[in-house]
């Protein structure tokens, strides 16, 4: 057999490692667009951005490990085309790679904001290179506008404040993280940022209308309500786009990511894993695509087993994510978006230590905690079992 994995980061590397661990000893090629050996992204908006960690610390795989795993590494050469009939991937440098089984793990890229093309001082954050470049520009007193208060935007704002930059965080939704975790927890996060002196602008008036520049260098961000935020630096963090452009015309179904079945397969001999993969989650009964670090590993390991015919069951993980906001860590299991009800069952939001349950219809769909990470895990079993809401409240492990 021969396996080609496209995307040399968390999901792609987990697949490669999983294949070897499960006894695969055939040819294994790992293709990556970036020149870097596989590395971990979450610290890019945290410890690497603040300078606490150097770049070496986030390496997932060194050259030794790559050799030990027998990886044919093709770094710095993006895949540019796929012919599923001929079972061949072509790379940007003209190389043609035949495969028997293919894994797509190309992740996502940052969504650009129209009107910022070619403006100096406007940045996005996805890669190690992006993080190091941003860190080099952040100094005490730097006036930074962060556009978008999702996980990435709030973490960047937090990191920049700890570096004594002057930070504006702008978001057209009513609260930071509101879409992801709901209004109650979003309000709590807003409080954390206000306490640390972030200038938070939320609501429709805070939508970005325009930019002002001087000789191509950004000078101000203009909001819909007319406010002009003078700045030295802007970071756009308004979401991401699955990296599937190179798959156009391949015959794969591309919607919100690479559309797979419940076993992460997109076509015969073709699998997807990580941020780029959209699959039908049989327990949740919905199609999901997760941008969570833990999922990249879990899905990569699942795909490795699937390739070897060892997967058995469909892929039905209990999603997990965390986020660091200053010294506060949020941890969550399940699917939190679009909940009908959020109920605090332990501690309180006011005291900054709590566990909140999320309900959709009559089911428990998620749990989130702040300073209660261990309690949060105890709800995981109920999520895995597809527990009803009333049953969950009655069965409360506490």
């Amino acid at each position: 057999m021969s396996v080609v994995v496209v995307g040399a980061s968390a999901a792609g590397f987990a697949t490669a490692e999983g294949l070897r661990r499960n006894g695969y000893d055939g040819a294994l090629t790992l293709v990556g667009a970036e020149p870097e050996l596989p590395y971990d992204r979450p610290p890019l908006s945290k410890q690497v951005l603040t300078g606490q960690w150097d770049a070496e610390r986030i390496r997932l795989c060194g050259q030794d490990k790559a050799t030990e795993l027998g990886l044919d590494l093709r770094l710095g050469t993006p895949a540019a085309g796929l012919d599923t009939a001929a079972r061949r991937v072509s790379l940007a440098d003209g190389t043609e790679l035949p495969y028997e089984q293919l894994v797509l793990a190309t992740g996502v890229g940052p969504r650009p904001l129209p009107g910022t093309e070619g403006l100096r001082g406007v940045r996005m954050l996805r890669s190690l290179e992006d993080s190091l470049a941003l860190r080099a520009e952040l100094r005490p007193g730097t006036r930074l506008v962060v556009i978008g208060a999702g996980f990435l935007g709030t973490e960047i704002a937090a990191a920049a404040r700890t570096m004594d930059a002057e930070v504006w965080l702008v978001e057209p939704e009513p609260v930071p993280l509101g879409i992801a975790v709901g209004a109650e927890v979003g309000e709590f996060v807003a409080g954390l940022h206000r306490e640390r002196g972030v200038h938070l602008r939320t609501g429709p008036g805070a939508a970005v209308r325009d930019f002002k520049a001087n000789a191509g260098q950004v000078e101000a961000v203009v909001l819909d309500d007319g406010t002009e935020l003078r700045c030295d630096l802007v970071v756009v963090a308004i979401g991401s786009v699955p990296s599937t452009g190179w798959l156009a015309g391949s015959g794969l179904t591309l919607g919100d990511g690479i559309q797979c079945d419940s076993r992460c397969s997109a076509a015969p001999g073709v699998y997807a894993a990580g941020d780029v993969a959209s699959w039908f989650h049989e327990h949740a009964g919905v199609r999901v695509r997760l941008e969570h670090r833990t999922n990249a590993t879990e899905q990569g390991l699942y795909v490795a087993r699937a390739l070897l015919g060892q997967a058995g069951e469909p892929f039905t993980p209990v999603p997990y994510f965390w986020s660091d906001q200053y010294d506060t860590k949020l941890t969550a299991f399940g699917l939190l978006r679009g909940a009908d009800e959020i109920r605090v069952v332990e501690g309180s939001i006011a005291e900054g230590a709590f566990v909140a349950l999320y309900r959709k219809g009559s089911r428990l769909t998620g749990v989130l905690g702040v300073r209660r990470a261990k309690s949060v895990r105890q709800w995981r079993a109920l999520l895995a079992a597809g527990s009803g809401w009333d049953e969950a409240l009655a069965d409360s492990p506490q």
Binding site: D40, Q47, R293, T294, W322, A353, R371, A373, K374, R377
Partner: protein
């Protein structure tokens, strides 16, 4: 078998505890990993290897 951890890396996913509950635990607040048995007995070795491989942040290192 010897387990070493780089606790700063840990993100509190608890995957290690699910895989090897006799060997790993989490602290209450942040959920950071706690090693209960640095040199676990042979019957736990398989579970510990599994824990190290599912840990999303490569926090757990196992030397045999």
């Amino acid at each position: 078998m010897k387990i070493t951890i780089d606790r700063d890396r840990c993100c509190g996913a608890g995957q290690c505890v699910l895989a090897a509950p006799d060997v790993f635990d989490q602290d209450d607040e942040e959920g950071l990993v706690v090693v209960l048995e640095e040199s676990p007995a042979p019957e736990h070795h398989q579970a510990v290897r599994e824990a190290a491989s599912v840990c999303p942040t490569a926090t757990i290192e196992v030397t045999e």
